[in-house]
């Protein structure tokens, strides 16, 4: 009888679909993932001279708290285990081994600092553990051929310096350039990027470089010396405290170079105001993320959402600290990758999804800047936009520039 056969077939079909559906819902899991939980590991300098960056870890914890309260990712809560490494590579190795071998995390997320990440990269790639969206602006994380488990996130310092170099070549072709940089990998990357961007003219155009240590009380001496070199362009690759000192000293000695400032030091509250807002007029920087104390974003809905999140989930943190915008935004990338992985929460699939981000827009990125990756491209954010300080705000100008291409 047709009806009976049909119902048998229908029943059989239904069981197959049901069984298949159950299998899908059950999911494939790597270590640290289950029906209810996704474990992510992280190391941050919560102590030591780099502890100012520890707020990033706290912001990320706060962001995942919010996601968890809203139901988690595909019904699973994110268990974000963040440990202190004091920016000391041996400690980072120890903590990461603990995260991988004892806590059995699914992946590392936003491990911070170039030396710490250099120390753990071999280990993680050897053990096939994703080293995702590392919190450093070094250029070396974009190397999927040799290190397929390691991926960066922010535009590298070298990209930023190359952007300045190209601008100088175009607008100030006869410039004499002076560079003040922090004596570590962060600062040195600006020297490398500038030289690469200037190409053959590098030796001719860069007339003086001076370094400083984070233990130096001031950079006044260096600024005076750089002025003495006769340069008319100054590039300052410094963290907020020293950037503020540099801006103020440049003004006080009556030097008026075209001044480029590293993106890490554009905070209005921490740098421009302490230096003296009028002393920095005309300074150029390149940004990719919105600066929370910049008045032009104050009334936008994206800023208000961020502020609401800060007040509810991260109340002890400072709303004037751009690190909290950074932590918020990079966590959004992680969450979207986790979402895309669905129920296939293996380490391989996580990297696969991370390598397949298509022009993702995020609320606190500057307009026009997107996150995108591919199998050969492990530099998720490659674009920056030039901006100029006008005494009150960082006024964006020009086009969004892509720093892609080494």
């Amino acid at each position: 009888m047709t009806m009976k056969r049909g119902s048998v077939i229908g029943l059989a079909a239904a069981s197959v679909v049901l069984a298949g559906g159950l299998a899908l819902a059950a999911g494939e899991y790597g270590p640290g993932a289950s029906d209810t939980e996704i474990k992510l590991g992280n190391t941050m300098p919560y102590s030591g001279p780099a502890s100012a960056y520890g707020v990033i870890g706290k912001a990320e914890t706060a962001y995942f708290d919010m996601i968890n309260e809203q139901g988690g990712v595909n019904g699973r809560k994110i268990n974000f285990i963040s440990r202190d490494d004091g920016y000391s590579p041996p400690k980072t190795v120890e903590q990461v081994r603990k995260l991988v071998e004892e806590d059995q995390v699914l992946a590392l997320f936003q491990t911070l600092g170039t030396p710490p990440n250099s120390a753990i990269r071999d280990y993680l790639n050897e053990h096939k553990v994703p080293q995702m969206f590392v919190a450093t602006g070094a250029a070396k994380w974009n190397d999927p051929k040799h290190y397929p488990w390691t991926i960066g996130w922010q535009p590298s310092y070298q990209i930023e310096a190359r952007i300045y170099a190209r601008y100088i070549l175009k607008e100030l072709p006869n410039a004499k350039i002076a560079l003040l940089y922090q004596n570590d990998d962060f600062g040195k990357d600006y020297l490398i990027g500038l030289r690469e961007g200037l190409g053959a003219k590098a030796d001719m155009m860069i007339v003086a470089t001076k370094t400083y240590e984070t233990t130096d009380p001031t950079v006044d001496s260096q600024i005076v010396a750089l002025q003495g070199s006769g340069a008319d362009v100054l590039v300052t690759a410094a963290i907020p405290k020293f950037a503020a000192q540099a801006i103020r000293k440049v003004y006080d000695i009556g030097w008026k170079p075209t001044h480029f400032l590293s993106n890490v030091a554009i905070s209005v509250k921490q740098v421009m105001q302490p230096a003296g807002p009028e002393k920095g007029i005309g300074i150029i920087s390149a940004g990719y993320i919105k600066e929370p104390t910049d008045p032009q974003w104050e009334n936008t809905s994206e800023y208000k959402d961020w502020l609401a999140w800060m007040q509810k989930y991260n109340p002890s943190a400072s709303t004037t600290d751009g690190n909290n915008v950074y932590g918020y935004t990079v966590s959004q990338t992680m969450v979207s990758v986790l979402k895309a992985a669905g129920n296939n929460l293996t380490r391989e699939n996580l990297m696969k999804q991370a390598a397949g981000i298509h022009d993702e827009k995020l609320p606190m990125l500057l307009p026009g800047i997107v996150v995108s990756t591919s199998a050969d491209d492990f530099a998720p954010i490659k674009q920056m936009q030039l901006e100029k300080w006008d005494g009150t705000t960082w006024r964006l100008f020009g086009e969004v520039i892509s720093g892609a291409g080494s």
């Binding site: 100012a52 004596n183 503020a244 000192q245």
Partner: protein, 289 residues
Amino acid sequence: MHGLLQQIFSGLAAGAIYASLALALVMIYRATELVNFAQGEMAMFSTYIAWSLVNAGLPFWAAFLLTLIVSFLGGMAIERVIIRPVENAPVLAAVIVTIALVLIFNSLAGWIYTYTVQDFPSPFPDRPVLGALITTQELGVIGVTLLMLLLLFSFFRFTKTGLAMRAAAQNPESARLCGIPVGRMLAIGWGLAAAIGATAGIMVAPVLFLDPYMMAGVLLYAFAGALLGGISSPVGALVGGAIVGVTENLVGTYLIPTQLKLTVALALIILVLVFRPHGLFGTAIVQRV
């Protein structure tokens, strides 16, 4: 030539910063024969206290005065509670205790006030003078440091308490026999040093900007400067600080790349000390057998 003069003036301004903290180090050493590695962190913490008071609405000078008093009392309390138990222990125990204080103050400051850089108001206007060689701000720092030196020098030389303190430090048993309350002298010494440190921090914060690591680098140079001048000499602290500031600038600008500035500056200071192991103005410690 202008560049050289600028470097020298810049160095003197930095030297005044080092000297102001060095004075606090000298104070403690004269009172207790101990080097307080936590001097910088205590000064930083005092500055944060001043900062909170100013933020709460107090006028600058009121906040300054209140902070001085709080720091003085705090310094005395630290001596009584934290240093006293290891006074008769080996020197290393006291060193460890001061290192512990460094960690505690730094960690507390970071926790309470976060690591974000803060702005700090200055009592001095900030205008370049003398043809942009130096600013009124920096002159103010130098002025206050000189004033503190004068006060400290007079205290030790001309007051009874100062004399009693020197006695208590050099020979506690004899001092006790003379009726000097040694314990109280030590506490006062720490209190005064804390107050000096607070003054140094408050003056310096507008220039260096306030964050928990503000004094970390300064302490190293202040220590070098104090030793160069002679750890028991206030005048030495000033001269030592100035020399360190100027040398560091000149060495880093003309002699070697800035990447080795700290190393070479320290090497030079040590070289001087090899020829004068007790500093320029220090007195040799004569050991009686």
